[in-house]
């Protein structure tokens, strides 16, 4: 198992290098010039110097290697300094955004909490809804509950999140005025009133994402439960006179959760991508909004860095899912 994980980790390095190449060069082709953000009143020679200092004139492979070095070495070092108050990264050039002229990772640091609160809660809620529904649908297969669950799940992943989001806004923010339609990022939770405010503004985005995730997850849970319910060991457990509760919740559920856990792990990077849309709907100032803003402003370093972070997340969670599968299921042996 350990050798398997180590081998996968080593294999992930060339994959990520290749992905970083693809992302860097694709984004680098962008027609917009970094000079477009410099005011026109700036004299030509000063403009040339600014561009020179930004390193734009270097050949593309120099910029790629520099960016890669900054991404994998300088930025983690900066994070280390930030946490432990050391000064290892002093004087090393960081990835600088064209838009703000500040380090890209500072922007990411500011945006991550919003994305994580909303998306993290939504995913958790989604999982918590999906698992009981999946269990009950499988236990009472073809009952009205199961039929309704199948239909809702089908609707849940057919209706795009930007429509459910807008629909919720029209109903609950415009007509009923229960919840605010725009997420206020500056809100600080200090007392009960501000906490309630935070809860209120989170309700709609969390509902949208949670329903979307629950739709697919509940189907996985259902089919995994169905597969296990027909197994011999379930009949044995029943024959021994165990209560239905023990059989279903202890024996069947445990075994059914194995594939579902890996599906949950695999879905985590995907929701970061899907959150780009939800953040846009509810005007949440998170990572997805940062990416869209950077794309519109031709801010190449930010786009490259964010896209690569998404890729790192995907590769990491793929690895975690595979490792989890091996850890949880003793029948799986990785040679």
């Amino acid at each position: 198992m350990l050798t398997y994980i180590i081998r996968r980790l080593l294999l992930a390095i060339p994959t990520l290098l290749l992905i970083s190449l693809v992302i860097f060069f694709l984004v680098d082709l962008a027609p917009g010039s970094p000079a477009s953000e410099i005011p026109l009143t700036v004299p030509a020679e000063v403009r040339a110097k600014i561009l020179e200092s930004m390193g734009v004139n270097d050949p593309v492979y120099v910029r790629y290697l520099l960016w890669l070095k900054q991404f994998v070495w300088v930025e983690p070092l900066n994070l280390f300094d930030h946490w432990f108050g050391t000064t290892y990264a002093e004087g090393q050039q960081r990835i600088i955004s064209y838009q703000t002229r500040g380090p890209v990772f500072d922007i990411i640091g500011q945006r991550i909490p919003q994305t994580l609160t909303v998306i993290g809660t939504a995913y958790l809620v989604g999982v918590l809804i999906a698992i009981p529904i999946g269990i009950y649908s499988a236990y009472r297969q073809y009952s009205w509950f199961d039929q309704a669950g199948t239909f809702v799940a089908m609707v849940g992943f057919s209706v795009p999140t930007f429509f459910t989001g807008v629909l919720l806004i029209v109903i609950f923010a415009v007509k009923l005025q229960w919840f605010p339609s725009i997420y206020d990022t500056t809100l600080k939770v200090t007392d009960w009133a501000s906490f309630m405010k935070q809860v209120k503004q989170m309700v709609m985005p969390v509902t949208v994402l949670a329903l979307f995730n629950a739709a697919t997850l509940s189907r996985y849970m259902r089919s995994s439960m169905l597969e296990n319910l027909g197994q011999d060991y379930v009949r044995t457990a029943r024959a021994k006179g165990m209560s239905e509760r023990t059989v279903v919740l202890r024996h069947v559920l445990r075994n059914s959760l194995i594939p579902v856990v890996t599906v949950i792990a695999l879905g985590i990077p995907g929701i970061f991508g899907g959150a780009i849309i939800t953040e846009q709907v509810f005007k949440i100032n998170g990572l997805g909004a940062a990416l869209i803003g950077a794309i519109h402003a031709n801010d190449l370093p930010t786009v490259q860095t964010l896209a690569f972070i998404f890729a790192v997340l995907i590769v990491t969670f793929n690895l975690i899912a595979d490792a989890l599968y091996g850890l949880l299921d003793p029948r799986i042996r990785y040679a």
């Binding site: 984004v27 089908m154 057919s158 795009p160 629909l167 415009v174 990077p269 849309i277 846009q280 998404f310």
Partner: protein, 309 residues
């Protein structure tokens, strides 16, 4: 099943051969959701394809059009008019044409790439490793951000070649196709790996059939069923991706309606005219739901283990 069908028909023609597709259709008919989905999709397609020919917009002068803006629903304008006085009913039809066309063309591209990659990597052992690594690589790419970047990068270049509308269409269709072929490739590879070992392939090979004909005549027809299911689901996801791009403001140009674009445009008037968001959203959702149900029915109908039971 065959027996009962035979006895119900004339007993003389008991040995009447039934084609495979007839069986598939019989099984498909038993899936209620798929039938409803098919009807809904047929109605929607008829609405967007035939609709604009039947439903003619009145020719109005600029002043009349301006005075005509933001009209509530009426007999002349069943869904009212938009902020520029255009008939929203007609815009829904035109938008649907583009959305459905994007879905179909993007699906064709993605299935073509997917089947080719899957076939090559399943059939030729030497290509298997590299092609599957390529598939894994594509699966690890953050697709939505890359799609956004691709649209931003090539929109102007393609608009110069094909004009703004067709240019965006070509770009979006290719971008979606290039980023969604991986599941199809994996499915086809798995099927081909199993088919390659079957006797009929061995027989064909021992007769000296060249690889090209072996693939096209013997293996390809046998992977049609899983590919069809993947294709149906691809249409649905392509329609959603296109609307998502339009929704993020990186899709078609403003004057060129698609359902996603109409929804995006409606957002600014959401407070006064919520129906302008709801109609296009409903259209997208219904189409995708219908296509998904058809895919579900097809999956059951094309599975020989379920069929005939």
């Amino acid at each position: 099943m065959r027996d009962t069908a035979g006895t119900q028909a004339k007993p003389v023609r008991m040995e009447r051969p039934r084609s495979q597709w007839r069986d598939v259709w019989d099984q498909f008919k038993t899936h209620k959701g798929a039938l409803v989905g098919m009807t809904v999709l047929a109605l929607l397609v008829a609405f967007v394809v035939i609709g604009p020919f039947v439903w003619h917009e009145e020719k109005l002068t600029t002043t009349q059009t301006y005075l005509n803006k933001n009209k509530p629903p009426s007999l002349t304008y069943p869904l009212g008019t938009d902020h520029l006085g255009r008939d929203f009913f007609l815009r829904m039809m035109e938008g649907g044409r583009v959305s459905i066309a994007v879905g179909l063309v993007a699906m064709t591209i993605s299935i073509f790439i997917g089947t080719t990659v899957g076939m090559l990597s399943g059939f030729f052992k030497r290509l298997d490793g590299p092609l599957m690594r390529l598939t894994d690589l594509f699966l690890s790419l953050p697709l939505l951000p890359l799609l956004l970047v691709m649209v931003m990068l090539f929109r102007d270049a393609l608009a110069r070649i094909f004009g703004p509308e067709l240019g965006t269409f070509v770009l979006i269709v290719i971008a979606i196709g290039v980023t969604s072929w991986m599941p199809a490739a994996r499915i086809v590879r798995g099927e081909v790996l199993a088919l390659k070992e079957r006797e009929f392939v061995l027989a064909a090979r021992s007769l000296g059939t060249p690889n090209r004909r072996l693939i096209l005549r013997h293996v390809l027809p046998n992977v049609v069923s899983p590919v069809m299911v993947a294709a149906t689901l691809d249409i649905a996801s392509a329609i959603i991706t296109e609307s998502a791009l339009s929704f993020l403001g990186l899709g078609f140009p403003p004057d060129f309606p698609t359902w996603g674009r109409l929804l995006f445009d409606g957002l600014s008037y959401m407070q006064q005219y919520p129906e302008r968001v709801i109609w296009p959203g409903l259209a997208i959702s219904l189409t995708v739901l219908a296509v998904n149900y058809i895919g579900d029915g097809l999956r059951d109908a094309l599975d020989p283990r379920i069929r005939g039971r």
